[in-house]
């Protein structure tokens, strides 16, 4: 199948069609997307700022207890993001801001994987004020930077609509 055929197949799916016909559904999706964003950012700030040492006096295990918010927020945004894409794949797919945003989301996932596999069990034992390893700090800093960029790129999607490159 060609790229255009795949995109057309996605566009023809029932969800895309339903949302295209209802501005209300799209607005609801946008509102949910913002809610997911806030849940993710809230949870990430607690986890990453504790890893970085900006907030202290907190046992690491307690800070990591906020990770489920990050996951729930992410899943909400994955679902609503997929909904948006399905309404107009031909607009999103060539958009350079969209491509970069998806790349950053994947990067965020890889970063989370690195943290989970390599650092998670080591940091769980850290008590109040105890510092994280360099790798812990790097993944925490990368996490904040990556998801910050994801937010910016999301906001810039309309600006690059119709363009095929950033320049």
């Amino acid at each position: 199948m060609t790229e255009a055929e795949v995109l057309q197949w996605i566009k023809d799916l029932p969800i895309g069609a339903a949302v295209r016909q209802s501005r209300w559904l799209f607005a609801l999706g946008e509102t949910l997307h913002f809610i997911g964003l806030c849940l993710m950012v809230g949870g990430l700030l607690i986890v990453d700022l504790r890893l970085l040492g900006y907030i202290r006096r907190i046992p690491m295990r307690a800070a990591l207890a906020f990770l489920p918010f990050v996951i729930v927020g992410f899943l909400i945004n994955l679902a609503t993001g997929t909904e948006f894409f399905m309404t107009d794949p031909f607009m999103y797919w060539p958009n350079p801001a969209f491509k970069l945003k998806m790349f950053m989301v994947l990067l965020g996932g890889v970063n989370a994987l690195v943290f989970t596999v390599m650092e998670h069990r080591h940091v769980l034992v850290l008590g109040r004020d105890e510092r994280t390893s360099p790798l812990g700090k790097i993944t925490a800093g990368a996490s904040l930077a990556i998801w910050f960029c994801v937010i910016l790129l999301g906001r810039l999607l309309p600006t690059f609509e119709g363009s095929t490159s950033f320049f």
Binding site: A27, I35, C38, I58, R61
Partner: protein, 172 residues
Amino acid sequence: MEFLTWLEMTDFSTWLRESDWGYPVLLCFHAVGMGVVVGISWMYSARILGYAKSFPLEGFERLFSLAWFGFVINAASGVLLFVGEPRRLAATPAFWIKMVLIVCAGLSLWALEKALHGMDDADALPGAGGAAAREVVVTGAARTAAIASIVFWLAAITAGRIIGYTMPPPPL
């Protein structure tokens, strides 16, 4: 109304409306500020309502400073967004509703912060020694403020979206 018309005619307001980057950049700041202030408010509300009880409440003090910073970023970017389209926004009910909701959300945040300091003081009371001192009783007031914070920010975000959909066309 005359002031709004004057504001709309200024060079800055015109530039905001006509430039490719004015609004996108402002909205970037607004989105980040929203994530920070609402995210932290919601996490704190969750904690107050009983989530992650092992997380010490004083751990939120620095986060609150960050939350207020986010609030200020959104107040500033919000003012500038208004400057770009003063008459259209003033004629949009969802805009005024959002302003009221934000005041309510800000008040809830302030009440939460007050509840935090109030509980810190309670820890220092004589007679509250030993392990019991670390157990902070979450008052009904704190719980109410927490739920209010969740609801008001949710409503403000929704109102913000509705502004875009219900703004009247540019005045002639």
